[in-house]
Every structure is written in C-alpha cells, then in structure tokens.
Symmetry: C2
Subunit: 192 residues, 2 copies
Amino acid sequence: MVTPKKRTTPLTKDELFTAALAIADAEGLEALSMRRLAAEVGVEAASLYHHLPSKDALLSGVIVKMRSEMRIPDPLPEDWRELLLAIFSEYRRVLAAHPNLTPLAGRRVETDPDSGLVFLTQLGFSDDDAVELWQSMIALAVGFSIFGSAYAESDVSDLPSELAERMSDWRDETCVRSLRMLIDAYDAERAG
Amino acid sequence: MVTPKKRTTPLTKDELFTAALAIADAEGLEALSMRRLAAEVGVEAASLYHHLPSKDALLSGVIVKMRSEMRIPDPLPEDWRELLLAIFSEYRRVLAAHPNLTPLAGRRVETDPDSGLVFLTQLGFSDDDAVELWQSMIALAVGFSIFGSAYAESDVSDLPSELAERMSDWRDETCVRSLRMLIDAYDAERAG
DNA sequence: TCTGCTAACCTAACGCTGTTAGGCTGCAGG
DNA sequence: CCTGCAGCCTAACAGCGTTAGGTTAGCAGA
C-alpha cells in the first residue's frame, strides 16, 4: 500500500488528488490525513504544503477529481430531456462510486458552461427557470447519494416494517424517476 | 459565554445536546470540541464520557435536537398536498436556521410514523410510491439546504454572468416549487 | 567549471483533538 | 456507620493540521 521508495520525480497536485481519492475510497474519509497521504506518495507531511495551501484545498481537489470522472454518452441523446437525464444519472453514478465522499459532495458546486444549463436557456427556458430546474436536479442527485451511502444512519424503527425496509433502500430508479418528473414538470410550465 | 461556576445538578444528555447545538450555531461545527463543550457546561472533557459513548453520539444527538424544532401548523391543512408541503417547508426552515449543521444533515434520517408517510399509503399510494415520493422530498430539501448554506463553495466562474449569479442563489421558493411539482407528479401517476 | 538561486524535500515542534485509565468525593441505601 | 457507585477529576496517549527553519540537489548564468 505505502510506497517506501525515495521519489525520483517531484510531486504534482494531480498526483496528490489521485492518491487522496484512492485513500478515501479504500479506507474512508477519516483515514485521509496529511501524514497518511504523505506516506502514500513517499514524502513527509510537511512537504505537502509546498504543493497545497491547506487540507481544505486537498479536499476540494479530491471532489473536483471525482467529478472529472463524469462521462457523457458519446452520441448525445437527441431528446434534450434524455440528455439532461443522462447527465444527472452520470452525476449520481459517480457519487455512488465514491460513497465515502458523500459527506463532501455538497461542499463544491461546479457547473460547466457546456454541460447543459446554458443549453436549457437556448431551448426557450428563461434564465430563472433553467437555473431552478438545474439546482433542483443537483439537490436531488446529491441528496439521494448522501442518503444512499453508509454515511447516513437511518432510524425508521417506528414505521410499519414494510415501509421501514423500503425507506432504508435509496434506489437509483427512484432518483431517476423523480429527476424525470422534475424535467417534465418544468417543461410543462415553460410550454404553458 | 463559558460558565465558570461549579455545577450543582448533574449533567443530562439533553443539556449536552442543547449546549452543543448552541456552540455549533454560534461558532461553527469545527468549534464544537469535547473540551469546548465541557467548558461550556462547567465540567472537564473526560466527564462527558459518563453521559455519551463518543463524539459521534453527540453529533447524532445534536441532529435529533435540531429536528425536534420542527413545528407542524396547528389546524392541519385540509388538502394533503398542502400538508406535505408544510412538512417539508418546515424541515427546510429548520435546516436553514442551523446552516452550520448542514454538513451533518445527511447523517441521520428519521421518519416519524405519524409524520405523513404512513398517511400517504392511506390516501391510495402504494407502499413503493409513498416511499419514493417521501425519499425524493427529503433528498430535495436536504440538498437545497446544503447548497444554500455557506458550507458549499460554488464555482460558476465559467457561466454567463446572469446565470452565474442566479446559480449562487438557492432560493426557498425554488425548493418549494420543485417539491410541489414532485407531489403533483406522483399524485398524477397514482391517479393514472 | 564554479557560484548562487531555488524548488522540493526534511526534522522538530506547536497546540489542538478524541479518548482511556484510574483516582477522588460525596451522597443514598442497608 | 459502612458500602457502593454516580459523577466528576487529573494525567496521559496517539494522532491531527500546520509552521518555522534547515538541508540538498539540480539548473542558470558567468
């Protein structure tokens, strides 16, 4: 696990983010300390501060790194609703692939200019409506991912047992279903 | 701020949760340490472990305490859609009232048996549909609260400026609007 | 080739954290 | 009066993020 060899090439930020992401994935967020990361990349903890201003910056970098794993399907769906759905399903897939990072998922919002929001306005959505739909989809996807991860402990002990069991199961299809409903509803309001 | 006097009555869990919530509200989550809390209630840090098994238990207690601030309007809305909306608007109000706790908001789901979920099944929703709507509303409300709090740093620098500004503004009305859309959509699918 | 600069690393230490072990104290029940 | 124990204490542990300041190796310019 730990690389004991002396380094030959200097560290890079990207290498740090990648290693940090790997540690968090494998051992949990609480295992990701500066010393642990330093050991992983074959360096002492203080040396990391030559590349990063703080641990906070490290965590932000890890989130960005995770987000960079998003892959949009190559022949883009023709229907814009399917495109939106593809984007946010992918968002959720990436979040679900790194369940240890869900506590951090909300700490950073990034919206690429070419990722769909601007596109919405070109479809006839007002700026307000486009943003509201976009925000709602982000909130839903992130919320579902948080509650779906082990981070969340649920107390449903007072519910009837069938409901309790079902409430502990945060399914991907449910998220997609609700995402679709939001898209259709905003679309209907735009048309009406 | 800190109570220097010797205590006359023994500590209670509830007193600890209340004090911890106050510290987190006033000074942020990172200020809430066992030593800080102990000082606040006039005791040494180690003594807290007579009442709590761990800091994690403290944080869970704080979340429960926060959630207990929810108040459902007294003449219950007659329309069940308005009732649902009232519940989740209140949920969001409480979350927004404690912005420093949003990072923890996802760590614990509680669903009272009498808070509406069971009620949905009595209205004709299948167990699955009721749970899916319920989960979606939780996810949306929590997601909005997280992104609306200062916890989230947004990077919208690449967006057109009007969109960027609007994207940094997570409005309550937007959350309510989307909640309402979800309710109506699930209602329509139930009827259809 | 020698000089000097600087990037990239190091050791050591600071004050903080959650947590545990073990001891004191004062009050309630027998 | 004696016992037990709830409720607090002091002291210490290992680990944390971070900083100050020192070393080293390699490259730029003379």
